[in-house]
């Protein structure tokens, strides 16, 4: 198998293995796996609205995991994208409902840029500076900042400055001028998908076709060599974590402006964590991130219909997803068993050889 076919076939094998194992678990606990999977597929791709929702669900994942991938490429683990996503959503919402008289072509960029800057500061400035100057481990700082962001979000909503009039802890709706148009009616799919696609291309070009990206990757692979080559390693640490936050923040704003239209306590259910898995699965490749995001989103949207049609708990989706990721990570499994098989057959023939001589 060539490297390229391997990189296509192995994830597929992983998915199949994951589905089979998940099927066995369902079967053991009394469900009908085939029906469940048919429903899962239908729920993800069954009609144009489902397809649109699947793609829509991929948008925040794409944006956030692009950010995480940039950090990984620089050798940094941004485990706090969830909080940066929240911060972006918060700022996007705030700008989104506070300037009702702006025309859309100013309001939308204003909200998006505001969210990006805020996400960048949250992810980049504070953890980046702490890493660059006192060596504070980014796993701790980004994680802690993330919890802080979410608490601030709740504070804003629960009788806080961003709560809409009334009882419910939710922000006002963003105005039409800050709403990304819906592409497929009755679905969540908004023009945010174009933003996500542009982000993929930009990140791809940035990483692989600019000197900046070259330097980011150098710092990631070998900071000593980067220093030797005259690169300012602490600065690139800040850039990298900052960009990471910029993209996560953008993700949050796009989700608000395209889908939720207002901020609520349960606004995110852990996109920032799912996005880590997405970027790892995609091996931090921007193009692969698109497919991995759609895949995760499909599992999520499909699982909702799977529940309705076959009663399988959505937790089963997590189980299956976990199993699939496991088999993607263990891609060597197949060659391992093939190797074992070969080795044992080779050992036999060698033994024969010895007895002859």
């Amino acid at each position: 198998m060539s490297k390229r076919t391997q990189s296509l076939v192995l994830p597929l094998l992983a998915v199949i293995t994951g589905l089979i194992l998940g099927g066995i678990i369902m079967w053991v606990s009394g469900y009908k796996p085939i029906n469940a999977y048919v429903a899962l597929f239908q729920g993800a791709f069954g009609n144009s609205v489902f397809i649109a929702n699947t793609i829509a669900g991929a948008i925040p994942l794409i944006l956030t995991s692009l950010g995480i991938a940039i950090a990984f490429r620089t050798g940094l683990f941004n485990i706090g994208a969830e909080g940066q996503y929240w911060i972006g959503a918060m700022v996007g919402t705030w700008i989104g409902y506070n300037f009702p008289h702006l025309p859309w072509y100013i309001h939308i960029p204003f909200a998006l840029i505001g969210a990006m800057v805020a996400g960048g500061i949250w992810g980049g400035l504070i953890p980046g500076l702490a890493k660059a100057f006192v060596g504070a481990h980014e796993v701790i700082t980004t994680m802690m900042m993330s919890y802080i962001a979410i608490l601030i979000g709740h504070f804003m909503l629960e009788r806080g400055p961003m709560m809409a009039p009334g009882y419910n802890p939710q922000s006002p709706l963003v105005t039409m001028s800050a709403t990304l148009p819906t592409l497929v009616s009755n679905s969540n799919l908004s023009a945010g998908i174009f933003i996500a696609m542009v982000a993929i291309i930009v990140v791809y070009l940035l990483l692989f076709h600019t000197t900046f990206g070259y330097r980011l990757r150098t710092v990631g692979h070998n900071p000593m060599a980067a220093k030797y080559a005259g690169m300012n390693v602490p600065l690139f640490t800040i850039y990298s974590l900052g960009l990471s936050g910029v993209l996560a923040g953008l993700g949050g704003a796009v989700q608000i402006m395209g889908v939720d239209h207002q901020l609520t306590d349960t606004f995110s259910s852990g996109y920032g964590y799912t996005a880590i898995v997405v970027s790892l699965l995609a091996r931090n490749n921007p193009i692969a991130i698109f497919f991995a995001s759609v895949f995760f989103s499909a599992l999520s949207t499909g699982s909702q219909v799977m529940q309705i049609n076959s009663g399988v708990s959505p937790n089963m989706t997590d189980v299956i997803t976990g199993v699939i990721i496991f088999f993607v990570a263990t891609d060597k499994l197949y060659s391992y068993f093939r190797g074992k098989f070969r080795r044992s057959s080779k050992a036999q023939s060698e033994q024969k050889g010895v007895s002859v001589s």
């Binding site: 898995v277 790892l280 937790n315 089963m316 976990g322 990721i325 060597k332």
Partner: protein, 310 residues
């Protein structure tokens, strides 16, 4: 007395600190054992959940909290093999494996909870691990209130930290573990079985994280709730790094976090906004990290797969 004076002079605060720190310290200790042999472990969250669930299940069906403890620890060990085996044998990416385990465990425990017990929750007859009263200690005024009466797992945790430190830094096996985590090839050339040591580290670590889960489900409580770890596995990860991959460091970081959490609970009762005061533990961690602790350096071969000699 001022509000802060009231809060800080209350021995319950320190007792609560210890109780909140226990699952974090156990998780961080588990992570330390794994990572000291060079296997990155971000699966504490998932392993804890598994330990918590199977702990309850075994305790409920056997009517013995001790059997629950045993089962939770064993389950933690078993699930950690899903990290150990591919990491050691297949040179797989350990971070991906960790995330996979976390997702799998969250799904599986929720699924099993509903399948086995329905939506009402685990049986209330589930036994709980006992609170211990340490005779002499309990009579010392302030100290007694803090240390004299805690769940048995709290004492186990303290013992494990001490034993863990002793084991890592004063035994032959501990030396070999550290060697494997720093430079597996060098360890290999002096005849140390890198594979076996890594299995051992991850397995022991998994058992400790499993115990952390047991503490949450049948130590503090006698029930299992969906996602009841509530991110403690990730905080434990932070505590491990914060504690520079040492047992006492892990405990220290866990105590700091537990203390800040406990203070935040007490302060709430004096009318401070729950959301804002909730920031305290996280902010304090950042401040401590940037101000005092600084750089923490992972074992040199942490996360690097090693293919043994062929």
């Amino acid at each position: 007395m001022s509000v802060l004076g009231l809060v800080f002079s209350n021995p319950e605060l320190y007792g609560s600190t210890l109780a909140m720190a226990t699952p974090l310290a156990l998780g961080a200790l588990g992570g330390t054992f794994s990572e000291r042999t060079g296997v990155v472990n971000i699966a504490m969250e998932g392993i804890m959940l598994i330990g918590a669930f199977f702990g309850v299940m075994a305790a409920a069906s056997s009517h013995s909290a001790w059997i629950g403890l045993l089962a939770g620890v064993v389950a933690g060990g078993l699930i950690s093999l899903a990290l150990a085996w591919p990491a050691v044998r297949l040179q797989s990416d350990q971070v991906i494996l960790g995330m996979a385990i976390n997702l799998f465990a969250a799904g599986l425990t929720a699924f099993l909870l509903n399948t086995v017990y329905g939506f009402g929750g685990t049986p209330i007859s589930t036994p709980q691990l006992p609170q211990l009263t340490i005779p002499l200690l309990n009579n010392i005024p302030f100290v007694g209130a803090v240390l004299g009466q805690q769940n048995v797992v709290v004492y186990i945790m303290i013992l494990l930290v001490i034993i863990g430190h002793f084991f890592l830094f004063h035994t032959n096996l501990g030396l070999r573990m550290r060697a494997v985590g720093e430079h597996p090839e060098a360890a290999d050339t002096v005849g140390i079985n890198v594979v076996r040591i890594r299995y051992f580290g991850v397995l022991i670590g998994g058992m400790m994280s499993g115990l952390a889960g047991v503490y949450l489900s049948i130590g503090m409580l006698n029930s299992f709730e969906v996602n009841m770890t509530d991110g403690r596995g990730y905080i434990a990860l932070a505590a491990m790094i914060f504690g520079k991959w040492t047992p006492f460091g892990s405990l220290g970081a866990a105590l700091l976090f537990g203390f800040a959490t406990a203070v935040s609970y007490s302060l709430q009762n004096y009318g401070v906004s729950a959301n804002l005061i909730g920031i305290l533990p996280y902010a304090l961690t950042i401040v401590a990290l940037t101000g005092v602790i600084g750089r923490s350096k992972a074992p040199a071969a942490d996360g690097l797969p090693y293919e043994p000699s062929k």
